[in-house]
């Protein structure tokens, strides 16, 4: 995989920094970081599929929602232990996503995006119509078991989860598999021509993405303690995830994390200045301008800035 010492150093520093945070920042900031962590997990999940292979999915909340609802229903309605419910939720997400979305991978480009959007809308309708006694219907459910109490514990859990997901994804992408996936994103027909099965590759990317989405969704619902279809199967959620990845830098691991943190903190820190609806307007406006200025993302900006610095000193 070509791991160098500075890889270990960088990850090590990152982890140490995270663990030290509760001493340095306020509880309020910790809460914001928790949300940012979960968004980062969802963003990495999206990036694994859409960032790498170029199959833009507009219905990612579909996968997250399956994970969240499965775990919520199992723990709340059937009294299943949460240690069992979460793994089951992940498996169900992967299965459900596979059965439903795999045929769609035959389709390219914009059509794929539309199918995924259609699936998300479908889930939104189904969750309210099919067995609302289990799903809580339109109003959703409250009083779902939480795994942690308090800002600090929630922070540690979400951070550990995020770091594990990030490192796992990072390692995966450094294998030959990862390279092949990026190749698919760049030129699928060339990859076909070289004898590799793009279908198998896409399936792997998809399963990895679904795994993370289901995992993230299940832990997320056990952090919130509540679930509502309007919060999950919403085009605004799609927007947040995609923008987080693209502003941060697609096809990387650190990019989605940067983007997630940037967006979450931007929205939250505008709160004291712009209490009401202006906040969303400015937040959206900044996101739009930033994206149009640099569609490749912040990570790319940092990289090229660093390269320029190195280049100018040599």
């Amino acid at each position: 995989m070509g791991l160098r010492w500075y890889h270990f150093a960088a990850w090590g520093a990152f982890i140490l920094g995270l663990m030290a945070l509760p001493e340095l920042v306020s509880k309020g900031a910790l809460r914001t970081i928790i949300f940012a962590n979960y968004l980062a997990i969802f963003a990495i999940s999206w990036d694994l599929l859409s960032g790498r292979t170029g199959y833009i999915s507009f219905g990612h909340p579909f996968l997250i929602g399956i994970g969240a609802y499965t775990s919520a229903i199992l723990t709340k309605r059937f009294g299943v232990d949460v240690e069992m419910a979460i793994p089951i939720a992940v498996v169900v997400t992967m299965l459900g996503g596979l059965v439903v979305l795999l045929p769609a991978l035959r389709i390219k480009g914009s059509y794929f995006a539309l199918v995924t959007l259609a699936f998300m809308e479908l889930m939104y309708q189904l969750v309210q119509v099919i067995r609302p006694d289990l799903t809580g219907g339109t109003r959703g459910m409250s009083g779902i078991q939480t795994l942690t109490r308090g800002a600090v514990n929630g922070f540690y859990l979400s951070s550990v989860l995020m770091v594990i997901v990030a490192i796992a994804a990072w390692l995966l992408m450094r294998t030959r598999l990862g390279t092949a996936l990026t190749a698919v994103g760049l030129n699928e027909s060339a990859v076909e021509g070289s004898g590799l099965s793009t279908t198998k590759l896409k399936m792997v990317a998809f399963l990895a993405s679904a795994f993370v989405a289901g995992l993230g969704g299940a832990f997320y619902v056990h952090y919130l303690g509540s679930i509502a279809p309007r919060a999950l199967f919403d085009i605004n959620f799609v927007f947040t995830i995609i923008v987080a990845v693209l502003i941060g830098g697609a096809s990387t691991i650190i990019g989605p994390i940067i983007g997630a943190f940037f967006l979450t903190f931007l929205l939250e820190y505008l709160r004291p200045w712009l209490p009401g609806a202006e906040r969303y307007f400015i937040y959206g406006g900044i996101a739009l301008l930033l994206y149009m200025y640099q569609p490749k993302g912040i990570y790319y900006m940092l990289q090229s800035g660093w390269a320029r610095l190195k280049g100018s000193t040599s």
């Binding site: 306020s26 509880k27 609302p132 219907g137 339109t138 109003r139 939480t146 919130l224 509540s226 509502a228």
Partner: protein, 427 residues
């Protein structure tokens, strides 16, 4: 020795200075861009102003901070966390809608901050209070729960729809949501035995329905005497199409968008003939002197919509004062059990012409309501049987006339107009 004394005095005065600057922080959680949220916010603002003018509470001034939810569930959770962890408020007043309240409820249970909910009426939350009184101790809901609203509506069916209009069959048109399902269940289970009205059919529709034509045709085909509407989401779409299509069937029920004075302006006048149940005090409700003064002061202070606070504004105004009084008795908001006990005892009776008109009080634990036979701890007091001398009725039925005026048609003790059919229905 003198130095130590001097330092002691200095320290003491510094200490006293800081406690003099201490304040009570109230947090508002709700949408800052909706009439609902603004009603609660302004009611709270006015209560705080009056209390501060009288010297504050326990010698401390009250300050207000806001946290916007944009009526989004996830933002609601973030807003509650913001109020609790960053602003460190002592008390929270909520103008959130049902699913947003359900979203931040786990946080309230964790932080144990006394919270007053002024709009959400979901009976499931009161069930949570009964099941788990310890973690739910900080939560008070000062609007009658939705089940109480629906129960009294059955009486409207018996006293007006059956007795006066002579109808004995109904078709229910309910939205496909948890709210729709709950109210429909209540109506179908109770309407026949209590009011003697037969439910011919229950038609459930998708909230995003664009065209209600086919649905109204289905309703007409059922052969019922009238339509019972159950809609909280996009309710204006159904009712405005009802008016525009001039459906030849009477319709009444629950139409959440018709609860504010801006309804007429928002519908461009296509809202005449619509009747709905409404929490108290509704639009078109005759007010007692205290509430009337509140509205007068409100209109002097605020020039943007809503022109008259929705019922939750009144709830916020009286409720916040009660919460402060309870805090004064309990020595603050920190001891949640003590505050809870003091808040339960709060009881404000408002009279009009020597008769009990409105009562802002709470049901106690274990106190059984005679008509429904169940308890509603920490829920606003209401009365379900005439002549309503224990508290106000849980709801009134209002009707918008085709000329833009609105009045109360039921219960008769509070009515100021008659229930009528829209002009295009020939009977």
């Amino acid at each position: 020795m003198k130095l130590v004394k001097g330092m002691g005095v200095g320290l003491l005065s510094a200490l006293m200075a800081t406690t003099a600057l201490a304040e009570i922080k109230v947090g508002f959680i709700g949408s800052l861009s909706s009439d609902t949220g603004l009603s609660t916010l302004r009611g709270a603002e006015m209560a705080i102003e009056e209390l501060n003018a009288q010297g504050g509470v326990m010698g401390e001034k009250i300050t207000l901070v806001t946290a916007d939810t944009g009526e989004d569930v996830t933002e609601g959770v973030k807003a509650y966390e913001y109020l609790a962890e960053t602003e460190e408020v002592d008390f929270i007043i909520s103008g959130s809608i049902d699913d947003v309240s359900l979203g931040w409820l786990p946080r309230m249970q964790e932080f144990q901050i006394p919270t007053l909910d002024t709009w959400t009426s979901y009976i499931g939350i009161i069930d949570m209070v009964i099941e788990d009184p310890d973690t739910m101790a900080p939560y008070f809901m000062n609007i009658a729960s939705d089940e109480a609203l629906a129960t009294l509506y059955i009486n409207f069916g018996a006293d007006v729809l059956k007795a006066k209009m002579g109808w004995d069959s109904v078709v229910v048109l309910a939205e496909d949501t948890a709210f729709g399902g709950a109210i429909t269940g209540l109506v179908t289970d109770a309407l026949a035995p209590v009011a003697g009205i037969e439910v011919k059919d229950v038609i459930t529709y998708d909230v995003n329905t664009v065209d209600f034509g086919p649905i109204f045709s289905k309703a007409q085909a059922s052969g019922a005497d009238f339509i019972y509407q159950v809609s909280s989401v996009n309710s204006q779409v159904m009712s405005s199409q009802y008016v525009k299509l001039q459906v030849p069937m009477a319709m009444t029920g629950v139409n959440v968008s018709a609860l504010g004075m801006e309804y007429w302006e928002d519908t461009g006048g296509a809202g005449g003939g619509i009747s709905t149940l409404s929490p108290v005090p509704s639009v078109g409700f005759e007010l007692d002197p205290v509430s009337a003064k509140f509205v007068e002061d409100y209109q002097a202070k605020y020039t943007s919509r809503p022109s008259i606070p929705h019922f939750n504004g009144f709830n916020a105004y009286h409720g916040l004062k009660q919460a402060m009084a309870a805090a004064a008795e309990a020595g603050g908001f920190k001891d949640v059990k003590a505050w809870n006990a003091a808040m339960l005892k709060q009881d404000l009776k408002l009279e009009k012409d020597g008769k009990l008109w409105l009562r802002y009080g709470f049901w106690q634990h274990g106190e059984v309501e005679p008509v429904t036979g169940r308890t509603y701890p920490q829920n606003a007091r209401f009365d379900l049987s005439a002549p309503y001398d224990d508290a106000q009725p849980s709801m009134v039925v209002i009707q918008w006339k085709e000329d833009g005026t609105v009045g109360v048609v039921y219960p008769f003790e509070y009515a100021n107009t008659e229930f009528e059919l829209p002009s295009w229905i020939k009977k």
